[in-house]
């Protein structure tokens, strides 16, 4: 039986708790669809090779580099972009700790750090370093970013609650 060619497909993506119908090429990366179809430009194209982390979004709460994921793979999964975070502890901590400079890598860092404090509320220095190594910043020295993560972890522990 001949399998028909399907140049474009219509898919439903759950982005920031909102169901969005999009028509995409199956070879479109999630990054491209978020930015160019949905207009969510918070996830940044950097290396587009899975190295720099500036395009990081959350898939079912886990950080994922959207440049190395096809949009069609994200069907039936919960996608969270930087636009979906509002007044979260990690965003406030980035401001308080001056954990950014030019800002280009910041959305990716925030998504990664948000997942880190949720998934590993007991993260030690080794775990924090391991997670931060997924993202590249060429302005700051990472210390302020690490301080932001630690301030959220510390506050969560003292409050006895975690942010989900």
């Amino acid at each position: 039986m001949t399998i028909p060619r399907i140049p474009k497909v219509s898919i439903d993506l759950l982005v920031n708790n909102e169901m969005r119908n999009v028509v995409v090429r199956p070879s479109d990366t999630l990054l491209r669809v978020l930015r160019e179809v949905l207009g969510l430009t918070g996830a940044k194209p950097g290396c587009e090779n899975g190295d720099c982390g500036s395009c990081t979004v959350l898939i079912d709460g886990w950080p994922m580099k959207s440049c190395i994921m096809l949009a069609v793979e994200a069907v039936n999964q919960q996608i969270t972009t930087i636009e979906g975070l509002k007044d979260t502890p990690i965003q406030n901590a980035f401001l308080e700790q001056w954990a950014f400079q030019c800002g280009y890598c910041t959305p990716g860092f925030i998504m990664n750090c948000h997942a880190l404090v949720n998934i590993h509320p007991d993260a030690n220095d080794k775990v924090i370093q391991e997670w931060l190594e997924s993202n590249i910043c060429r302005c700051t020295g990472y210390e302020e970013i690490e301080a932001a993560v630690k301030s959220v972890l510390s506050k969560q522990r003292s409050d006895g609650r975690y942010s989900h």
Partner: protein, 277 residues
């Protein structure tokens, strides 16, 4: 952006994946099985790979198994490196997987993708080489289990239409003493200058390498030399390095000469530690 179009099919069973592959192949669409997809996307973006259809195997239940069963550890090919690292059912495998790529990338990279990929380092395979694992392969001729030493020779030798479903490892091997060391040029993310994974079974040391030559390998000849305890350790290492299966890799991370230096020192550390176990 990927500069060409392809179709995407998500298989939910092994027969469906094989059926799709055969039909798409007969239609000249050069199909590829798709696991984590990180390598396919990065190669496609730069036109180093071409396909008109990918068949995602992440929806196949057998490819997502990660558990002990009947005295075997079953690792599905779609299991992510993060899951392997965190669940620690095979501590050596967890260790080598936790050193591949970076934390976020490991959420996407799968065991099957790592061992079948084009990337020359493929560190997930080292543990399976040491543990004499078996590879469960599905293809047009059915589902077959083959010893890893038969199917992995410098790279996975799969026939057209075949894909890896699972890797089976005797549970005993997952409990043996081990060491895994990855030496990079700089930092703690990136490709290795030398990676050595080693385990000790019945007083004999098994050693597998990545980053040393242009492919990962385990050499019985090298192990025989390294286990000759009547010879001083440094002499054994000098002899072993003369029996590498291919020239030492020389690239921007390290020249062949520097690699040899790092290899000898790392072997010394690994063997000293394991011989004391």
């Amino acid at each position: 952006m990927i500069p060409f179009d392809f179709e995407y099919y998500k298989a939910t069973s092994i027969p469906e994946a094989i059926y799709l592959f055969q039909n798409l192949f007969l239609q000249g669409r050069n199909p590829l099985y798709y696991g984590g997809g990180t390598e396919i996307i990065t190669l496609a973006r730069t036109n180093r790979i071409y396909t008109e259809a990918v068949i995602d195997i992440k929806g196949i239940p057998e490819c997502n198994v990660f558990a002990h069963h009947d005295h075997k550890l079953l690792v599905g090919s779609a299991v992510t490196l993060t899951r392997v690292s965190e669940e620690r059912l095979f501590p050596l495998l967890s260790r080598t997987c936790s050193e591949a790529a970076d934390q976020t990338a490991r959420n996407k990279i799968t065991v099957g993708g790592n061992i079948c990929g084009r990337i020359i380092f493929r560190e997930a395979v080292l543990s399976f080489l040491l543990a004499d694992s078996d590879i469960l392969i599905a293809g047009p001729s059915g589902i077959n289990k083959k010893p890893i030493h038969e199917i992995f020779k410098q790279r996975m030798r799969l026939q057209r239409g075949e894909f890896v479903v699972q890797v089976h490892t005797d549970t005993d091997y997952t409990k043996l003493p081990f060491i895994a060391v990855k030496k990079r040029r700089i930092g703690s993310v990136g490709y290795p200058v030398v990676t050595i994974a080693a385990m000790k079974k019945e007083q004999l040391v098994r050693v597998a390498f990545s980053g040393v030559c242009a492919f990962p390998f385990r050499s019985h000849q090298i192990e025989t030399i390294l286990n000759d305890r009547l010879t001083p350790l440094e002499t054994r290492i000098e002899r072993a390095v003369r029996h590498l299966p291919a020239p030492l890799l020389s690239n921007t991370d390290a020249s062949a000469e520097y690699r040899a230096f790092v290899l000898k020192n790392t072997l010394l550390d690994v063997l000293t530690a394991l011989e004391e176990v």
